[in-house]
């Protein structure tokens, strides 16, 4: 047997930090990056007598996520206490929803190499985040700013079969939570965190193997690598006739390997029970209807709209909508130009890579890019100049038309101006002309290069090439 005879069975637990300005059970701010312990109060510090008060906005956010993921919304759910000791957990219990989650069922359709795959969602529950430990050489400090920040945990069914599929799912999920404004989905700030549950079995089998859990993996790349590494480890063990132990393992980002964290046998018993401080979480049809009607357009809807309105290909529309910020940026810029297709090609070739996993700041204003698309679309500048100008604009956002004029970058579209330069090119490059005439078409590039050099790249390339071809043909006629 070999690796190819096995498959991974993967389920994900994704923690998504909600974008509400206030914490789940108190009025403290949720802003990321504040100085330690400045966004705290008696409630999130678990002072004696403090009581949680449910922030209704968090419920709405969870419902919005549930609707976007096609879940059933529970008309009534409850909070439970998950009891354990850890220094980042001042109450010594985390308030979560163990017995009755707010959303259940649901799915995400993911495009993979093998076509569309439907990854089913088991449940979504609301819970509070813990604080953060900051380790020093001989002591550790606790920052409680994150204590009580609202999270939803999205638990998938074991429908994922590979690292690539897991990443495709995560990307799609991230796009959805960002489109719905439920979360900013920043993995580097911990607002999207992923636990992977993985077991291995022979292809064709239906039973599940022993499950290994890998906790808190914080980038898409690491998720893929952790899955690949753990899959290989388990297959090797099975091939050697060994038994897989149900356990929690840690993925080491440096070595790319996983190592055992704790065995399931000694796993904590969290002594869940309903939180007596908190009543039922009620969601009625009116609330669902209100949320549904205020739901932002999701990527699929935008994709169809773009294809229709701007005559884009499936590929172009897919790429524009894969990231909400990119899509928002496109929508703002397209209002500023009469040349949407030029804008799309500018965005997809030059800007899309700048919208990375966690980048949210647009690299330049949509107005500027719209104006640049106009200059290109109206043939004021050529694409070479366009690329150079864009480089300048990315460093210093300014009016591209003014920049083009000040630096005399406008394209030369006048044949009368170009004719002497074309003639000169033919005269000074006899060898290239002869090569071209002998059928070596690449020789044309040398001739064009001469023209571009003489015009500092401003010659209208299509016009110049037409004129050049005419001039060469003319020269051929004369010589023969």
């Amino acid at each position: 047997m070999s690796v190819t005879d096995y498959e991974s069975v993967i389920g994900l637990e994704v923690h998504v930090e909600l974008k509400t300005p206030q914490k789940l059970f108190c009025g403290c701010s949720t802003t990321f990056g504040a100085p330690p312990n400045t966004q705290v109060c008696p409630v999130c510090l678990a002072m004696p007598g403090s009581l949680p008060l449910l922030n209704q906005e968090c419920v709405e956010f969870a419902v919005r996520a549930g609707l976007a993921l096609h879940c059933d919304i529970a008309p009534s759910s409850r909070f439970d206490r998950k009891n354990y000791f850890y220094p980042d957990l001042p109450k010594a219990y985390q308030v979560t929803q163990n017995f009755s989650p707010i959303c259940s069922g649901g799915y995400v359709d993911v495009a993979t190499e093998d076509g569309m795959r439907r990854i089913r969602i088991n449940r979504i529950h609301l819970e509070e985040d813990a604080g953060k430990l900051i380790h020093h050489e001989d002591h550790s400090l606790v920052d409680c700013n994150r204590c009580g920040v609202p999270l939803i945990e999205i638990v998938t069914e074991p429908d994922i079969r590979s690292g690539e599929e897991a990443v495709a799912f995560l990307r799609k999920l991230r796009a959805i939570v960002r489109y719905t404004d439920v979360s900013d989905g920043k993995m580097n700030e911990g607002s999207l965190r992923c636990d992977v549950n993985l077991s291995v079995r022979k292809k064709g089998e239906t039973l599940l193997g022993k499950r290994v859990e890998m906790k808190n993996i914080n980038s898409f790349n690491f998720v893929a690598r952790a899955i690949e590494s753990e899959f290989k480890r388990q297959v090797a063990l099975i091939e050697d006739g060994e038994i897989i132990v149900q356990e929690t393992r840690r993925f080491d980002e440096k070595t790319g390997l996983t190592s055992a964290l704790r065995k399931k046998e000694s796993a904590a018993d969290y002594r869940y029970f309903p939180d007596p401080d908190l009543g039922e979480v009620l969601v009625d049809n009116e609330m669902i209807a209100k949320i549904q009607s205020s739901m932002p357009r999701l990527s699929d809807e935008r994709k169809a709209m773009y294809k229709d309105a701007y005559d884009l290909s499936d590929y172009e529309a897919e790429r524009l909508t894969a990231d909400k910020d990119l899509s928002d940026f496109f929508e703002a810029a397209v209002k500023e130009t009469a040349h949407p297709k030029t804008l799309v090609s500018l965005i997809l070739t030059d800007l899309a890579p700048l919208f990375g996993e966690d980048e949210t700041e647009a690299p330049l204003s949509p107005e500027t890019l719209g104006a640049l698309a106009d200059l290109l679309g109206k043939d004021v500048i050529n694409s070479n100049t366009g690329r150079k100008v864009l480089k300048v604009l990315l460093e210093n956002d300014q009016d591209p038309a003014a920049y083009v004029e000040e630096n005399h970058l406008a394209q030369i579209n006048d044949p009368k101006v170009l004719q002497p330069i074309v003639d000169e090119a033919v005269r000074s490059n006899i060898r290239a002309v002869n090569d071209y005439l002998k059928g070596r078409t690449p020789a044309m590039r040398a001739l064009m290069g001469y023209i571009m050099k003489k015009t500092q790249g401003r010659a209208n390339p299509i016009l110049a090439e037409d004129m050049l071809k005419a001039a060469v043909a003319d020269a051929d006629k004369k010589s023969s």
Partner: protein, 496 residues
């Protein structure tokens, strides 16, 4: 009349006539505290300077014509699990011996707005877990009527303070009899209000689905006056009821209304194993109500044992979870010897939590474990539902239930001794039904035994029937002599 023997109504009238100032009243109580505390031990912290400053402010206010109402200038004591900004709130635990909250409990805010004068914080069983106040980490509180006996608990300090004349009224807290039982042992009126009537915010949680704060006073009218001040919806306590029907004219006003011919029930199973004095007290009270035109109905509550078990299981489970936050990390006691994180937990909690708290934490931890959750916790919640349903049915047949509070008068110190949890808890059987069902219960004195020990009775009513309970208890109180102050009080005051 001696200042410290006056009722709230009498003091309020004297304050407004100018016969007395709050400063004078406050000084009289502080003097009692100074003289009696060595033999009572009701307080953990006495805030003399604060009290005098508050009294002075109220005197000034009243002079300026600003009158915040009946409680203005009246000296009060607060159980030490009720947070007071700037004044340590120890919960009678080494764990929080030096813990000074930055916030007031909502009931404290409300009392401050009513012009209350706070004399200090009273002793209690550690984290309110206990029924004799012997489980205080600091010292015992003695029953002012017989210092060889316990004052009850967990609000024993509050009860002793009011009984001994060291405060006009006190706030206690109740999870399963912690107001009514010490009130009965110390000859007081104690109200455990309907769950959701009084804000729990700022009151240290023991069992969140049971905990309520309530007044302990010498008279029914005093008690109603305090409840009027604290029965205010708290939008920041998710369990604070939006629908509490507070009577027009307040609880004080409801006492003066007439009820027609009330139906008073009594639970027959309750008479098993009672001290003859208590049985006698019940009979006399029933006769009294009958003679006043009430109809008496015998009732049955067949699952008393199960209810009691459910009470211990649920409060231990919730208590376990509530106590875990005292772990030596964020505030409170931390063992100086601890080196690792686990060390901090283990040593700090081993050092600074008392035996009673530890045993409940262990019990709660045991019965919430995965293997036990269904057989204990879930079953207990089902029994709780059954208790609620049964009581609802009983209240279809009557307006209030008259019941004993305890099987007899206050026990001697150490009477619990090394008894198993079970033995200790069995005396709680009259006081857990109301908390289990979230119902109000009002304890009031029914006289002294031949040995001069107070006995109490209680009226339990449906949700939000506090006004009715006050009216019924006031009728009894008006027809009987007020309990004399404890002998101790006279001895000390006379300088003996």
């Amino acid at each position: 009349m001696t200042i410290t023997d006056m009722t709230i109504q009498e003091m309020a009238a004297a304050l407004r006539k100018g016969d007395l100032s709050s400063s004078e009243i406050t000084r009289a109580f502080l003097q009692n505290i100074e003289q009696l505390e060595p033999s009572v031990g009701a307080y953990i912290t006495v805030t003399e300077d604060d009290a005098l400053a508050m009294a002075k402010t109220v005197d000034q206010r009243l002079k300026e014509g600003y009158d915040p109402g009946l409680l203005a200038g009246i000296p009060a004591a607060l159980k030490d699990n009720i947070a007071t900004a700037g004044v340590r709130t120890t919960n009678a635990s080494r764990m929080l011996e030096h813990f000074v909250p930055a916030y007031d409990a909502y009931v404290v805010t409300l009392l401050r707005e009513s012009g209350a004068v706070f004399l200090g914080k009273t002793n209690m069983d550690e984290f309110a877990m206990g029924d004799s106040s012997e489980a205080s980490a600091f010292h015992a509180t003695l029953n002012p009527y017989d210092t060889t006996r316990v004052p009850g608990g967990s609000s024993g300090g509050s009860a002793a303070a009011v009984a001994a004349g060291e405060a006009v009224y006190a706030l206690g807290t109740d999870t399963g009899g912690s107001i009514c039982q010490p009130a009965a042992y110390c000859g007081l009126v104690g109200m455990r209000p309907t769950y959701g009537l009084i804000s729990r915010r700022g009151v240290t949680a023991y069992a969140s689905s049971f905990d309520q704060t309530g007044p302990m006073t010498r008279t029914v009218r005093d008690n109603a006056a305090v409840l009027d001040a604290i029965a205010v919806r708290d939008p920041k306590d998710g369990m604070s009821s939006r629908f509490a029907p507070i009577p027009e004219g307040g609880y004080v006003g409801s006492i003066e209304t007439t009820f027609g011919n009330p139906v008073i029930g009594y639970i027959e199973e309750f008479s098993n194993g009672l001290d003859p004095a208590v049985r006698d007290a019940i009979e006399r009270a029933l006769q009294f109500y009958s003679s006043e035109g009430a109809r008496l109905v015998p009732l049955s509550f067949p699952h008393l044992q199960e209810a009691l078990a459910a009470y211990y299981l649920l409060t231990s489970a919730e208590g376990y979870s509530a106590i875990n936050r005292y772990d030596g990390i964020h505030y409170g006691y931390r063992s100086a010897e601890a080196e690792t994180v686990d060390d901090i937990y283990i040593r700090s909690r081993s050092d600074a939590l008392g035996l009673e708290v530890k045993s409940r934490v262990l019990l709660g931890s045991y019965l919430l474990s995965k293997e036990n959750y269904e057989i204990y916790y879930e079953k207990a919640t089902r029994i709780r539902t059954l208790v609620i349903q049964t009581l609802n049915t009983l209240f279809n047949a009557c307006d209030a239930i008259l019941a004993p509070v305890t099987i007899g008068p206050a026990p001697l110190f150490g009477a619990h001794g090394d008894e198993s949890l079970n033995g200790q808890y069995s005396s709680d059987r009259f006081t857990v039904l109301a908390p289990l069902a979230g119902l109000p219960a009002l304890a009031f004195p029914s006289g002294l035994t031949e040995e001069g020990l107070p006995l109490g009775l209680q009226l339990i009513g449906p949700r939000f029937s506090e006004g009715r309970l006050y009216m019924l208890a006031a009728a009894y109180e008006d027809a009987h002599d007020r309990l004399p102050r404890p002998r101790l009080f006279h001895e000390k005051r006379n300088g003996k």
